[in-house]
């Protein structure tokens, strides 16, 4: 039976451009990490480490729309200062994922250029430093249509499935399953958020106990981003 354990990684200082997150994670939690763990790292620290930041007016409390437009390929909806747009990666979210919270005044974080690559770098770095094989998910906080409140989802992954394909699996009655592609990377991101909080300065969490079969080469962009052609809401 699957039993998961989830704990936050504390003790990571303010991340600076050029920092290697694998080094910081290894220093903060190296003795607690094991092969088979999934390490969920928030977009915020990935963007800071990669220098994906833009300058904004320090008095600004909202993401400037022109910055959102510059990071988007298409604006889907606009209401007052809120834009819902499609990013270059194909993510649809508020303000192109640009964020002014938990960053110094005068700066905004932008989404990583390629968060699957960011996840691979962290995975490879942890393997090199600690001789362990972990899965890595880069998470971000997205709103959803039709439902209030935000929830964390995966924007990148490495070494752990983004989507599990159960299309050949029979259900408990032996009939074919119709709900068949499960976005486990999103569920891992959501689960990790429960121990990270939004204000507590815990930028990473460890999910221990995922089935070995989930640990494989993977990509959020290839597996989760839905092409506009197959999308009913774009």
């Amino acid at each position: 039976m699957t039993r998961l354990e989830i704990f936050g990684v504390e003790g990571i200082a303010e991340v600076q451009p050029g920092d290697r997150l694998a080094d910081l994670l290894a220093a903060a939690a190296g003795d607690r990490l094991r092969s088979g763990d999934v390490v969920v790292v928030t977009q915020k620290v990935v963007s800071k480490a990669e220098g994906r930041m833009a300058e904004v007016d320090p008095a600004e409390i909202r993401v400037p729309p022109e910055l959102v437009e510059a990071e988007s390929v298409r604006v889907l909806r606009r209401r007052g200062p809120l834009l819902v747009s499609e990013t270059r990666h194909g993510f649809v979210c508020a303000n192109a994922g640009i964020d002014l919270s938990n960053v110094a005044a005068g700066l905004a974080t932008l989404l990583p250029v390629d968060a699957d690559r960011s996840a691979r770098r962290i995975r490879d770095g942890l393997r090199a430093r600690l001789a362990i094989d972990v899965g890595v998910v880069v998470s971000d906080t997205f709103g959803r249509p039709w439902r209030r409140g935000v929830a964390d989802v995966a924007i990148g992954c490495a070494g752990v499935a983004a989507v599990l394909d159960l299309r050949e699996t029979p259900d408990a009655m032996g009939r074919p399953l119709h709900v068949t592609e499960v976005a486990v990377a999103d569920e891992l991101a959501a689960a990790a958020e429960l121990v990270m909080g939004k204000a507590s300065g815990v930028p990473a969490a460890v999910v221990r106990g995922v089935p070995r079969a989930w640990l494989r080469e993977a990509s959020v962009r290839a597996e989760i981003v839905r092409s506009p052609a197959e999308d009913l809401f774009r």
Copy 2:
């Protein structure tokens, strides 16, 4: 520091109309449940226990559109046999949440009439039988626009927050947080799905270790369902 533990509840036999889920949960896992746990129960067994089922042609492998329409107040999109509609509860999902998998041929499960009430009944039943106070989330599996794969969300809850309101909380830099309403009930449902699987006959899971402050009176319908007026995608 928050540390969560998540495990599935096995050993629950096929649920029949009229079954009391609190009795079944207490029999299967009573010795492992503690006050402060959150018990996540899938819609499928809640609907079966409450007799929320409809007869369909036993040869049918897709949800009949007329059944979806009968359970909906509005159809948002239609592509081939797939309907995305708004249910009476205000949920927007595929096929009004009606499902033919993990149910006997000739039957389909419908969503519970009021899944917050379903959750309260289970919570109250576990309190009466085991003298413990738990939170309860009723979960279901929804698709999402823009993202491939499904993920579990909450359709009802009792004794645990649906949405945490962090609007007065400063971020790690002392500035006000803008992302401020976190749908923890959805994240709990997603986390629980990781140990339940879609075909394994594990209809419930326990999340242990959630902060005490989250354990309060709550309602998915009141806190998570977004009114059409404030929704940009309806």
